[in-house]
């Protein structure tokens, strides 16, 4: 293979991307060397097993991916702004809508939410870390390297171009030769391992490590949403693992699962993909519901209305999420009975979702709302998400779906649920828990500016797309007809509004770091749940003493009884895990093995795989028992943080 086959050539935008990558990487290397920070990077971050630091790394990576996916989106919107524009060619356009979708779902939405879960869930249940901190680090690095593998495809080897759903036979070896599609398969596989491990880890953490006295139905609602999400992850991700493996075997080892030869069945891919894919939608939306519930209860200054109904509706949504997958391919040609069954089950999901909407409204009803930025995101979410949900029910009607299918109506629908649901929640959650992570709030003025730019931009972008869809504009076309010009142009303007909103948000991180007042109490928003009971910055052991839980909204009770998580009479040495570089090294090796497999360099792939196995053996013989934080150290830390 010559070099010009290895690197992507002939595309000015991609050359610019290469230059940018080289510049940014050299800048980072220079800065780390100049400030002698390599040791710091290794000791404090690359080897950490602390759930708070891992969470921060998740969120930083997710923000980078939001930038990447957003850049893809803006390029698409520019191309679609005018008829016959040649900003992107067809091939490049195909690659960009593929990577946009994949990056946003797999490498932005999920890690962003998992990052928030990492930081918040142990704090909310009064735990000192995850059940398996080592595995947690492993999960993060598997996500990180999976994302890296997927993202380098645009400069090395070429991006996948068969859509984020990667339907066969288009995505098969016959019609998509070369490494592009392999990057998709192995990048997702690599990060999927981590997601499954995180699901198990979170479930065990929540089931076994709650503070004394905390019953399941006294857990904060975000923790509940995490538990239900973990359940979905555990049962949905293995399906993706198998689907990806089958297509990989098809492409690399010549099997006939999804091919047109050998009596293969290409639609089986769609079936398997959506059996994972639909639960996946709820993996990214249920934690969002959890975040909004926390934010709304905090800033309405009330206990969440209908807590039990909230929990049960989430459980019901989780169960139904496994029973609706066919609505993604009603037009495949299955019989009327199949489509009817899945049409009905799809519409059923609107019921528990409706319950949740009314519960949020019930919480807001007659409350004194405090209009902070996180609360604004939550308030904007409710009506926006309802629009997305209602159009979803329209799409769920199989007969009508024959009209909506594959049109911009669908594009508008899923952006309305995923942006108004998940992305708003990511912003709300990040701003809400920001003081817990970084010891200062984000500036409210810039926060609100970015909120308004983003939300208005969002509606301007996607509302016209419903009508474009009704006007017959299909999705995934790179060139618009003149009759669709006006609405597309408006949509593009909106997209730049969203981009501007994101830019202001990022600027706000820097601005607030420089100017915001530092937190003193740890209870930044007069919070209701346990995470606000810790001082900020949160000591690495989280809780000096575990509180005893009496009911819902544990911290409200504690404040009433004047209790804290630092009870000097109850202090005991705390057992904590040691940092380790093994997860990073193991996943780096797996990354290299996957990279070799992308190019079908078998010897190299096996060689690195042996390296991974060696790392597992090392782990098996590892006798690291962790260390104890002594009482004196806890006392000093807590007194200093609490200003005693």
């Amino acid at each position: 293979m010559s070099l010009d086959e290895f690197f992507v050539t002939g595309e000015p935008l991609i050359y610019a991307g290469m230059v940018a990558i080289v510049l940014v990487t050299s800048a980072i290397i220079f800065l780390l060397t100049y400030f002698k920070k390599w040791g710091w990077l290794w000791r404090e971050w690359l080897t950490t097993v602390d759930h708070k630091k891992i969470g921060i790394m998740y969120i930083l990576s997710a923000l980078a991916m939001l930038f990447r996916g957003g850049a893809d989106a803006l390029m698409m919107r520019v191309q679609l702004a005018f008829p016959d524009l040649n900003f992107l060619n067809t091939q490049h356009y195909n690659e960009i809508f593929t990577t946009h979708g994949t990056v946003m779902i797999i490498f932005m939405a999920m890690p962003f939410l998992i990052g928030l879960m990492n930081i918040v869930v142990p704090l909310q249940i009064g735990a000192r870390d995850f059940a398996f901190p080592y595995v947690n680090a492993l999960s993060f690095w598997s996500f990180f390297f999976g994302a890296l593998l997927f993202n380098i495809s645009f400069v090395i080897g070429g991006s996948p171009d068969a859509g984020w759903t990667s339907y066969t036979p288009l995505a098969g070896a016959a019609m998509s030769p070369g490494p592009g599609q392999n990057f998709y398969l192995l990048g997702l596989q690599l990060s999927g391992i981590g997601t499954l491990a995180t699901g198990i880890n979170l479930m065990v953490t929540i089931l076994k490590m709650r503070a004394p006295g905390m019953k399941l139905f006294q857990m904060p609602i975000f923790t509940w949403s995490t538990l239900v999400t973990s359940f979905i992850i555990i049962f949905a991700f293995p399906i993706l693992t198998v689907a990806l493996a089958l297509m990989t075997i098809d492409r690399i080892f010549g099997s006939q699962f999804f091919t047109l030869t050998g009596e293969g069945l290409p639609m089986m891919w769609a079936n398997l993909f959506w059996m994972w894919g639909h639960p996946e939608v709820y993996i990214v939306i249920l934690p969002a519901f959890g975040i909004f519930s926390e934010v709304i209860a905090t800033f309405a200054k009330k206990q969440l209305f209908g807590y039990k109904a909230m929990v049960w509706s989430m459980i019901l949504i989780a169960a139904l999420s496994f029973l609706v997958w066919v609505h993604h391919f009603f037009t495949m040609g299955a019989g009327a009975f199949v489509n009817s069954v899945f049409s009905v089950s799809t519409m059923l999901i609107a019921v528990p979702t409706g319950v949740k909407i009314f519960n949020w409204l019930g919480t807001l009803y007659k409350s004194k709302i405090q209009f902070t930025t996180p609360m604004l995101w939550a308030l904007a979410f409710i009506p926006s998400f309802v629009i997305g949900g209602v159009t979803g029910v329209m799409l769920g009607m199989a007969a009508a779906d024959y009209q909506f299918h594959n049109s911009y109506f669908l594009v508008a629908h899923f952006h309305y649920v995923l942006i108004a649901g998940t992305v708003f929640a990511c912003f709300a959650g990040l701003e809400y828990w920001y003081p817990k992570m970084f010891n200062h709030k984000l500036n409210e003025k810039f926060g609100k500016l970015s909120f308004w730019l983003f939300v208005i931009g969002f509606h301007v972008t996607f509302f016209p797309q419903y009508f474009l869809g009704l006007d017959g504009m299909p999705r995934r076309i790179f060139d618009i007809g003149p009759e669709w010009f006006t609405l597309n142009f408006i949509s593009t303007i909106g997209a730049f509004g969203m981009g501007l909103g994101f830019a202001v948000f990022v600027f706000n991180i820097y601005y607030s770091y420089r100017t915001s007042q530092r937190e003193t109490t740890g209870d930044s928003w007069d919070g209701r749940t346990l995470e606000w009971a810790t001082p900020t910055p949160v000591p690495h052991y989280n809780f000096a003493t575990q509180p005893t839980i009496r009911g819902l909204d544990a911290f409200v009770e504690m404040k009433k009884h004047n209790e804290s998580t630092f009870d000097e009479s109850k202090l005991e040495p705390i057992h904590m895990p040691n940092n380790t570089g093994q997860p990073f090294i193991m996943m780096a090796l797996l990354f290299m093995s996957s990279f070799a497999l992308v190019f079908e360099w078998m010897t190299l792939a096996i060689l690195f795989l042996v390296g991974v196995i060696v790392m597992m053996v090392v782990r098996s013989f590892d006798e690291d028992e962790g260390h104890h934080v002594e009482v004196e150290e806890i006392k000093t830390t807590e007194r200093q943080l609490r200003g005693l």
Binding site: L196, N201, I234, P238, G254, Q256, F257, E263, G264, L272
Partner: protein, 200 residues
């Protein structure tokens, strides 16, 4: 239950051990779904043999029955190993684990022989959708058995070095769950692949 600690097997005695075992159960639940996806693929692609031989022409009951008995017995001996562990007998534990491994290796040997035999008859991974799904389903199970054997060897070394401790007993208990689970999966492969393949 006053003497609770006394009755509790060593592998359950620390909270960390309990969590590891619980985590592994949850992982097994995920594995159930993983294999079910392979079963679903096999079932949907059943009959799509193209020009390759039909399963009923190749499957023979003798070899499959031998494999089944080998694996069932290994699952039993693995259970005896855990029984020995709870008795506190390290040598008994190691002996029964080694017997389990030998039976597992025997199973693998027959599986490899079977695969080679089928491919000589013209049924390979790439000859048709049906045979792809057969090889990947049975092969994934075989790969699990292989991993289990490698893993168990590591544990036997640790048992030699350290004896039965809270850590090693937890690890051995977890691999016993894994090994029994592979038998559960094999029961379904035996029934829905081989028996049904010979009936239809």
């Amino acid at each position: 239950m006053q003497s609770n600690v006394k009755h509790t097997p060593l592998e359950y005695q620390t909270e960390h051990n309990q969590m590891s075992i619980l985590g592994f159960w949850i992982f097994l639940a995920a594995e159930v779904v993983l294999f079910s996806t392979l079963f679903a693929t096999y079932a949907v692609l059943f009959g799509r043999t193209a020009n390759a031989p039909l399963p009923s022409e190749l499957f023979g009951i003798e070899i499959v029955l031998i494999m089944t008995v080998l694996l069932l017995t290994s699952s039993f001996t693995c259970g005896i190993a855990i029984h020995q562990m709870r008795h506190g007998s390290n040598s008994g534990l190691i002996t029964w684990l080694i017997i389990t491994l030998v039976l597992g290796l025997g199973f693998l040997g027959f599986e490899i022989y079977e695969f080679i035999h089928y491919s000589h008859e013209g049924a390979t991974l790439s000859s048709s959708a049906f045979w792809s799904s057969f090889y990947v389903l049975a092969g994934t199970h075989g790969l699990h058995v292989t991993l289990g054997i490698g893993w168990a060897i590591l544990l036997i070394i640790q048992l030699y070095k350290k004896g039965i401790t809270a850590v090693t007993s937890r690890k051995v208990f977890i691999i016993s769950l894994y090994w029994h689970f592979l038998d559960v999966i094999w029961i379904f492969i035996f029934t829905s692949v081989y028996l049904i393949g010979m009936v239809i």
